[in-house]
C-alpha cells in the first residue's frame, strides 16, 4: 500500500477536464463526422464512454464508440505474468475514420504503441489522435497526446490511479507515493 496519497483531481476536476477534451475534439475535427472514439481497456474504455456522452450533449449528435484490448500487441510477453485478454469490440469499419484513442494514464507510451498496431490491424484510418486524462511523463517512445486532461510530472516510484465507481464513472485521480 502506498505510504502517501494525494488527490490530483476530484469529481468536478475530472468532469471539467473531460468536458474540455470533448470540446477540443469537436473543434479540431469540426464536428463528429467520420469520428470514432476507441477506448483502451479498461480505464480508457470507461473514459471514452464519458466522452461520447459529453460530445452528444454538446453537439447533439452521436459519435461512434469502440473498445480495444491491446494485450495481444504488447511487447512484454514472457517478462511478466500472463494478462487476461479482453475482447475488442469495434462495430464500424475503421478504414477512413478519424480515430481518437482514449486512455486514462499516459506513461511509457508502450500501451499506446500497442494500441496503434491494434487499430491499424483492423483497417486504415484517416488519422489517429490520442486523448489522455493524465500525462505523467517518463516516455520511452516518441508518442505525444493531442488532448490532455492534466499534466502531472511524477517520479518513477509514484503511481497515478484513476478511480471509477461501480457504474464505471470516473470519480477522482490520485497520486500514490511509496
Amino acid at each position: 500500500m502506498a505510504a502517501e496519497t494525494l488527490e490530483i483531481l476530484d469529481l468536478d476536476g475530472v468532469n471539467r477536464a473531460l468536458t474540455r477534451i470533448a470540446h477540443e475534439i469537436l473543434e479540431k475535427n469540426q464536428g463528429v463526422e467520420n469520428l470514432l472514439l476507441v477506448g483502451i481497456r479498461t480505464g480508457g474504455a470507461h473514459l471514452a464512454a464519458q466522452l461520447q456522452q459529453k460530445i452528444s450533449e454538446i453537439e447533439g449528435a452521436d459519435v461512434a464508440l469502440g473498445i480495444i484490448d491491446v494485450t495481444m500487441y504488447r511487447d512484454d510477453l514472457g517478462s511478466r505474468s500472463n494478462l487476461s485478454i479482453g475482447q475488442t469490440d469495434i462495430r464500424v469499419p475503421i478504414t477512413g475514420k478519424k480515430v481518437v484513442l482514449v486512455d486514462d494514464v499516459l506513461y511509457t507510451g508502450r500501451t499506446i504503441r500497442a494500441a496503434l498496431d491494434a487499430v491499424i490491424a483492423l483497417g486504415r484510418p484517416e488519422n489517429i489522435q490520442l486523448a489522455i486524462l493524465v500525462d505523467r511523463g517518463h516516455r520511452e517512445l516518441p508518442i505525444r497526446p493531442d488532448y490532455i486532461g492534466r499534466n502531472i510530472p511524477t517520479a518513477q516510484n509514484e503511481q497515478i490511479k484513476v478511480d471509477f465507481d461501480d457504474q464505471n464513472i470516473p470519480q477522482a485521480v490520485h497520486l500514490l507515493r511509496n
Partner: protein, 311 residues
C-alpha cells in the same frame, strides 16, 4: 487471476478457475478469427513444432492455424515422414528437435503418458494433443467452450458421453473438465467398451443409450475407432449402430434444446445418423471453429508469463 502454465499435459492437473481462465482467454481470441486480416503479432518469433505420431487432420490443422494467427512459426512433423520410421526413439527425436530451439512442442502420440515423459526431459513447453488413451486436453476445453456458448453455464448440466469409453482419451479429459465445472457426466456404451472402475473418475455408468440420454442437456457421441481395437469389441457395426447410434428418435428423449456433439471424424450411420449430424441440434462445426480459439489461448498462455520460478 493469472495463469502461467509451462506445459498443458492434461485437464486433471487444472483447477476450475484455471479452466475458466483458459476459456475466457479463448473467448477474446475468437474475435480474431472473424476479422478480415486474421493475424495478431502476439507470438512473433516463437517456434511451435507440431509433432504428430498419429494421424490427425482436425487437431493438427487447428493447432497450426492457431499458431499462424498468433504469428508464431509453425512446423509440422508427422510420423510417416519422420525418422521414426527409421527406428529413432521418441526421446532422441525430441532432443534433436529441441536442438533447433523450438519454444513449444505440440505432441500427439499413441502411448499414454508420452507427453509427460517429454515434458520432464525437455526445456521447451509441451502441449498434449492426445496421448494414447490418457488425455486430450484441448478437445475437452473446446467442448466446454462450445457447451458454454450454447448453454450459458456448465454448472448443473447433464452431459452424456456415449461410445468406446475404454479407448477414448476425449472421455477422460472431458470427465475431469466437466466435473470441475460442475456438470453431471453420464457415460454409456456396450459393456465391452466400458472399463471397470470408470465411475471413480466421477460419472454415472449406463449400459443403455436410451436411459442415459433421457433428459440430458448435451449428448457427446464418440467415434468407433476402427483403426484401434474398437471393431473387435462389438459383434457388428450394424448392431452397434442400432443400439448405440444416435438417431432422431433417440434424441427426442433428451431435453428439447439438447445439443449434439462429436469430436470427429464422424462415422455417419454408425454412432451418429446423418440426419442428426446435420440437424439443428448439432454443434459439431461450432466445436471445430472454437477449437482454433481455444488452441490460440493455450499457445498464448504457455508461451507467455514468467516461467523462471518453475523448472
Amino acid at each position: 487471476m493469472s495463469f502461467n502454465p509451462k506445459h498443458i499435459l492434461g485437464i486433471k492437473d487444472l483447477t476450475a478457475e484455471q479452466i475458466l481462465f483458459i476459456l475466457d482467454t479463448a473467448e477474446s481470441f475468437k474475435e480474431i478469427n472473424t476479422r478480415q486480416i486474421k493475424k495478431v503479432p502476439t507470438l512473433r518469433g516463437k517456434t511451435v513444432v507440431n509433432l504428430f505420431f498419429e494421424a490427425s487432420t482436425r487437431t493438427r490443422t487447428s493447432f497450426e492455424i492457431a499458431g499462424k494467427r498468433l504469428s508464431a512459426d509453425t512446423v509440422n512433423i508427422t510420423a510417416s515422414s519422420s525418422s521414426v520410421v527409421k527406428g529413432e526413439t521418441l526421446e532422441d527425436t525430441a532432443h534433436n528437435i529441441e536442438a533447433m530451439h523450438p519454444d513449444i512442442i505440440v505432441m500427439r502420440h499413441s502411448a499414454s503418458g508420452a507427453c509427460d515423459y517429454l515434458a520432464e526431459r525437455l526445456k521447451c513447453s509441451v502441449i498434449n494433443a492426445g496421448d494414447g488413451t490418457h488425455e486430450h486436453p484441448s478437445q475437452a476445453l473446446l467442448d466446454a467452450f462450445t457447451i458454454r456458448q450454447h448453454k450459458g453455464d456448465i454448472k448443473g448440466l447433464t452431459v452424456v458421453i456415449a461410445g468406446d469409453i475404454t479407448h477414448s482419451r476425449v472421455v477422460r479429459s472431458n470427465i475431469y473438465c466437466l466435473n470441475k465445472l460442475g456438470a453431471k457426466v453420464r457415460i454409456t456404451g456396450p459393456r465391452t467398451m466400458i472399463p471397470p472402475g470408470i465411475e471413480k473418475l466421477g460419472c454415472e455408468v449406463y449400459y443403455n443409450l436410451n436411459d442415459a440420454i433421457t433428459d440430458a442437456d448435451c449428448v457427446m457421441m464418440l467415434r468407433i475407432q476402427r483403426e484401434r481395437q474398437g471393431a473387435t469389441l462389438i459383434p457388428s457395426i450394424r448392431e452397434y449402430a442400432r443400439y448405440f447410434g444416435l438417431s432422431e428418435a433417440k434424441l427426442k428423449l433428451a431435453k428439447k434444446d439438447a445439443i449434439v456433439m462429436h469430436p470427429g471424424p464422424v462415422n455417419r450411420g454408425v454412432e451418429l445418423a446423418s440426419s442428426v449430424a446435420d440437424g439443428t441440434q448439432s454443434v459439431i462445426l461450432d466445436q471445430v471453429e472454437n477449437g482454433v480459439a481455444v488452441r490460440m489461448a493455450l499457445l498464448y498462455l504457455v508461451a507467455g508469463g514468467e516461467k523462471l520460478q518453475q523448472n
